[in-house]
């Protein structure tokens, strides 16, 4: 299971998504797209979007914090 989340520091939905991962014991890698231009380009390429958070669960891309979609992708009941 590989979970990546592309964030900006001020984004509240990013914070919400991270809390959700922690609550459900999901390990994740956070990439701050303000500091990391490479991550920013990667995010835009993956999602074709310019909005955060972008979440990559094993290649399945979520834009925004879609709790129900994430639960499904992560197999959380």
């Amino acid at each position: 299971m590989s979970v990546k989340i592309y964030t900006t520091p001020s984004c509240v939905y990013c914070r919400m998504a991270k809390e959700f991962f922690k609550k459900n014991n999901v390990e994740f890698q956070e990439l701050n797209v303000v500091q990391d231009d490479k991550a920013r380009d990667e995010m835009v390429k993956k999602s074709r979007q310019l909005a955060v958070p972008v979440i990559d669960v094993n290649g399945e891309i979520f834009v925004g914090f879609d709790q129900r979609g994430l639960k499904k992708a992560l197999g959380i009941a």
Partner: protein, 305 residues
């Protein structure tokens, strides 16, 4: 079958949930998230009893208080897709396909961001069109951007963009900026900002991402295109009342008309509280109070029968 289903998780929905649990009404609350529109606020300084709290922590406070109650069912990852009246009860279906029956309903769905409704807006949402400056401003580093709307939210979006954008056009339809004079002062004195008054957005241009904004100069009557890489729309809110369209009476703006003594709508089985209603002042504290009124009234109705 429930006695009451509360729809919404903002201050109105949560206040209703707490009171309904304490009254031991058999109830369910359905929401996709907690905190309401204030969730995106950097700081709330007028919630009574709390000097200052971020929107994120505010949402958490509400959620924790609700979850501390016994005897209320909570769905926090779904939304009601349709509502139907069937004799003395209501049938609700959620987006994920769950069905519920209830005697009464409390609408606490608040309001949602107003869209421009111009060509290009929907197609380019998330591709340069943003409704969350605090989230997305850093993505527009070294870009020229536009903010539409000069109320407090629009002015704050401009300030959120100061550290990142190279130039910020602020478009306002009327002749005057609308937000607080103090915030206006901060913006006018910044060299990055160019204010375009009497400017009505016609369309958003761009193929994969936003490349420009076309607006009509209401004074001269001609259209102009400004090349930009991002646009932040901050033109206010509309009540989220689609669900009860045709079921209850509404104002021309889509606000649900309530009896302000009881919060009951024109349908004897539906109550409403908070920003979805025709309440004159849309405030967190008022929404919570109005929801409490609704629950006390619903409890009266349930006990009489």
């Amino acid at each position: 079958m429930y006695e009451l289903i509360i729809i919404g998780g903002g201050p109105a929905g949560v206040a209703a949930g707490i009171y309904t649990a304490r009254k031991k009404i058999k109830s369910l609350i359905i929401t996709e998230s907690f905190g309401g529109q204030s969730f995106l606020s950097a700081g709330i300084e007028n919630w009574i009893g709390t000097k200052s709290v971020s929107g994120f922590d505010f949402a958490k406070m509400l959620e924790d208080h609700l979850r501390a109650q016994e005897g209320i069912d909570i769905i926090d990852d779904d939304r009601v897709a349709s509502m139907e009246k069937s004799g003395e009860k209501f049938l609700l279906t959620t987006k994920s396909g769950k069905n519920f029956e209830t005697k009464y309903i409390l609408m606490a769905t608040g309001s949602e961001r107003k869209k421009l409704n111009v060509p290009g807006e929907k197609e380019l949402e998330g591709r340069g069109v943003s409704y969350c400056s605090i989230c997305d401003a850093p993505l527009f580093k070294d870009k020229e951007v536009a903010v539409v709307g000069s109320g407090n939210a629009g002015l704050e979006a401009v300030i959120d963009l100061f550290p990142y954008a190279t130039k910020i056009y602020l478009l306002e339809r009327s002749e005057m900026l609308k937000g607080d004079p103090v915030t206006q002062g901060k913006i006018i004195s910044n060299k990055k900002v160019e204010i375009l008054k009497m400017a009505e957005v016609v369309s958003i241009e761009g193929k994969d991402f936003v490349s420009g904004i076309r607006y009509k100069d209401l004074k001269g009557g001609n259209e102009k295109v400004v090349p930009i890489g991002g646009i932040f729309v901050e033109i206010g809110a509309v009540p989220s009342s689609e669900l009860v369209k045709g079921l209850v009476e509404m104002t021309p703006y889509g606000e649900v008309i309530v009896d302000h003594k009881t919060q009951q709508t024109s349908d004897a089985g539906i109550w409403a509280a908070g920003d979805i209603t025709d309440v004159l002042y849309k405030q967190n504290n008022i929404s919570a109070g109005d929801a409490v009124k609704a629950i006390l009234n619903i409890d009266d109705k349930l006990r009489k029968k």
